[in-house]
């Protein structure tokens, strides 16, 4: 195929690439497809058009932290699940609480996590989250021992269908009753 010379062809290329990618593609990734012959603004416009084109179809084009991806509309998930009974296992409460602390309080050290949860952090918990590429080390805190500082990754946001941390449920929404000091 020669280089595309019209919008329709460019959109077709983008669609084919996104449908086969298996992961989000950033605007920069997609610009590479056209060897410098496309403006960023044009690309954004084409993304909007593609979104429109697929609005009534089985997949939707969504934007997450690391870019754009096609994903099945939510009404199909239960059918997709029937195909792979051995899907991603649910994480333990320890893992999820650790993840929540890192997500909402980042960057944090293991000590911070232990302080909040009141128990020692099992190294296995951190390993699970790192292997999933949901958290990583972003630096060290300058205190004795220089403990690692953990933060969530883009991949975590992608997997939860989020564009940024700001899209996480607000902490304030978790309304709690005060614990009374006097009875």
């Amino acid at each position: 195929m020669r280089e595309p010379d019209n919008i329709t062809e460019m959109k077709q290329i983008l669609e084919a690439v996104l449908l086969t990618a298996g992961q989000p593609l950033s605007l920069d990734d997609m610009l590479k497809l056209f060897a410098g012959r496309m403006e960023r603004t044009t690309l954004r416009m084409l993304m909007d058009e593609l979104k429109q084109d697929w609005a009534e179809k089985t997949l939707e084009l969504v934007q997450v932290a690391s870019g754009y991806r096609f994903q099945a509309k939510s009404q199909f998930s239960e059918f997709i699940v029937r195909l792979n009974p051995e899907r991603q296992a649910k994480y333990s409460r320890a893992v999820m609480e650790t993840l929540a602390i890192i997500a909402y309080r980042q960057p944090v050290t293991r000590g911070d996590i232990e302080q909040i949860r009141g128990v020692a952090v099992n190294p296995n918990v951190m390993r699970q989250l790192q292997e999933r590429d949901w958290i990583d080390v972003v630096g060290q805190r300058e205190v004795p021992g220089r403990p690692s500082l953990y933060a969530t990754t883009k991949h975590f946001l992608d997997d939860l269908n989020l564009r940024s941390l700001a899209e996480l449920p607000q902490m304030e929404d978790f309304e709690q009753t005060e614990i009374p000091l006097d009875s």
């Binding site: 096609f70 997709i80 609480e97 949860r117 020692a120 997997d159 449920p169 902490m171």
Partner: protein, 263 residues
């Protein structure tokens, strides 16, 4: 609050039938509780929320005696976790003893020794709720399926990258195995000679017979390079790779690739 109670029912309700009523845990149920709760904060929070337990109503003496028994048991099970529970009961006892002391008038409300514990409990509770929320969010691989159609991988395979470091590392390995490094040093000069050896062989291969002086570009090459070139010719001759012929004294010297045949 409603969702919180549901959550508790789901998490704890099915795990075991006997729910704790206070921090006094029968030793035979200890293991179960340790599994069911994420730690002392979690257990305390549960007791406060579910049974309206007053932090101060906890029978401290009894509790302490019991926790000391646990330590023995813990040596076999999860000592780390037991330590967390012990620390917590120590903290509760400290709070209680401070509360029992006569309170100086000027001490303000915020200095209530329970305030720090309550702050921690509230923070932990918020995180617990956040974790539960994260857990039910749609997730790639669980509820979200990303398009991943197939494509023909046309092979425009780029050759592997090789860096100078890779090459040096390879050479180092060769030397290590061949145990050559104590005797053999290859320096700049020798490499230049070997490079010229290759160049001369290439030239002789294409041109056949070459007159000795033609191999020296006296006009443009520096002395060092001329010397190296000369050394290369000598080395080639020594290794029997080229043959040098001269019809008579002072006549031109010709070089050619050693074909093994007598001239």
């Amino acid at each position: 609050m409603k969702s919180q109670l549901n959550l508790d029912a789901r998490i704890y309700g099915e795990a075991f039938t006997e729910l704790p009523q206070d921090l006094y845990i029968p030793p035979d149920a200890l293991e179960v509780y340790l599994e069911a709760f994420e730690g002392p904060l979690d257990l305390l929070l549960y007791l406060i929320r579910k049974h309206n337990l007053d932090i101060l109503d906890i029978p401290m003496a009894q509790l302490t005696a019991q926790y000391i028994v646990y330590v023995e048991k813990m040596k076999v099970i999860k000592l780390e976790l037991a330590a967390d529970y012990l620390l917590m009961s120590a903290m509760l006892i400290e709070i209680k003893s401070r509360m029992l002391l006569p309170k100086p008038v000027e001490i303000a409300e915020e200095d209530d020794p329970r305030a720090e514990l309550v702050r921690r409990l509230m923070e932990y509770e918020a995180i617990k709720l956040a974790a539960a929320r994260l857990d039910i969010m749609p997730q790639v691989g669980v509820d979200i399926a990303v398009a991943a159609a197939y494509y023909q991988h046309i092979s425009e395979i780029k050759p592997p990258e090789v860096s100078l470091d890779d090459l040096v590392e390879a050479w180092r390995n060769v030397l290590k195995r061949a145990k050559l490094n104590s005797h053999h040093k290859i320096g700049k000069e020798e490499l230049s000679v070997r490079e010229h050896m290759s160049q001369i062989l290439r030239r002789l291969k294409t041109d056949g017979m070459v007159e000795f002086s033609q191999l020296f570009d006296v006009a443009s090459e520096g002395l060092a390079k001329l010397v190296v070139n000369f050394l290369a010719i000598l080395e080639l001759a020594k290794e029997g790779l080229i043959r040098m012929t001269q019809q008579q004294a002072f006549s031109p010297i010709y070089l050619q690739v050693n074909t093994g045949e007598r001239a």
